[in-house]
Symmetry: C2
Subunit: 222 residues, 2 copies
């Protein structure tokens, strides 16, 4: 059993960080809290989002920015729930960057307490581009497997919190939460890991409590 490893490298954008800092400052001025929601395709971003909104819409004024290469499936679902939503087409790009996010925020307006950016379904590119969010939330679904921190290290490194979704079917896929915790700790020791099922609602109390605490912490630090 042997194999070779070769390294290749692509250039990444230069001044994204400065644009992200500007977004962050603009959000701070307006008082809106921006969540950057990142995950693989089909991990359950929209279902998680809708259930989170349902729990918090009595407390906060909420809006959503949906980023997709194409289509408007998720934006329709959010709009049907009566939540202001902007669909951003990335034109084939695999992620949102800070400038796309700025343009989206300008169109959407920031007269909200809480804005969710549902990023393009992807475990690589979105991790590389700071968009100026207050909180970076990653969702990993159990069918994807507990080895993902080994293959997509940066996403786990840059996320503030990890939601493990589809826990109700974990056993079907041989998904081991303890192995996931061990693998994730290699990339980001101490990152909170919250198991949820967006379908059944299991675990959403802990998650929305966590999110509310983060929003209130930011407000207190004003």
């Amino acid at each position: 059993m042997s194999f070779e490893v070769i390294e290749t490298k692509e250039q990444v954008l230069a001044d994204n960080d400065a644009a992200a800092a500007e977004n962050r400052a603009a959000l701070r001025r307006s008082g809106a809290f921006l969540v950057n929601l990142m995950a693989s395709p089909g991990a359950g971003k929209t279902t998680t989002l809708l259930r989170t909104i349902e729990a918090l819409r009595g407390k906060y004024r909420i809006a959503v920015m949906e980023a997709d290469a194409d289509g408007d499936v998720d934006a329709r679902a959010v709009a049907a729930a009566g939540i202001p939503v902007l669909q951003v087409h990335t034109g084939g790009s695999c992620h949102m960057d800070a400038d796309m996010t700025r343009r989206g925020l300008e169109r959407l307006g920031t007269d909200y307490d809480l804005i969710f950016l549902e990023n393009v379904g992807n475990l690589v590119c979105p991790a590389e581009f700071d968009v100026g969010a207050d909180l970076r939330v990653m969702i990993l679904s159990t069918p994807e497997g507990h080895d993902k921190p080994l293959k997509y290290p940066l996403m786990f490194q840059v996320s503030d919190v990890l939601l493990v979704n589809k826990t109700d079917v974990a056993s079907v896929f041989g998904f081991e939460l303890e192995t996931l915790r061990r693998n994730a700790a290699l990339r980001h020791p101490g990152m909170p890991i919250l198991p949820i099922s967006a379908r059944s609602g299991e675990g959403f109390g802990a998650w929305t409590d966590y999110l509310t605490a983060e929003i209130e912490k930011r407000r207190a630090n004003g």
Copy 2:
């Protein structure tokens, strides 16, 4: 129910196509058939690959190129099966391009009948970069949902064949094969769609027959 749509666009690499054509010519000279295997993270690329290899290793000399942002989990699994494998680290890039593939083929050698490139787990970027493969195979797993052709059109457009994996758990996720067929037909009318279960082996006869026919067709055309 209403929402806005705004368009953003990123520049893509210029001379990738020329490099891909060179790869294609080099492969033709050597007689090796290159398969570019693309899917989301956790869709079952490696499990599908291992079962495909098991079915065809008596017939063809096979090698594998594993592309990942980091890690060597999949390369270890392939090596354990006794198959020559090269791990390519893309250094954070979300896809293989033609030049990375050329470098990989040079290291791996082309003294094989069949070479699989397991691309980075991603439904966006790999679709944009022709690597010079003879066959582009996409895997969609049922937990990802039947709406994916609406959100990731290019991947469905550029793939020659679509394997629908994890059919054994389709009902758990409300995955409807007919809806998927309808959505996929919007992007790529006539593309063969083969349901499989890489876990149980269901559907692998049709898939390996298809692959064998493609390899033999290429050989017959010289």
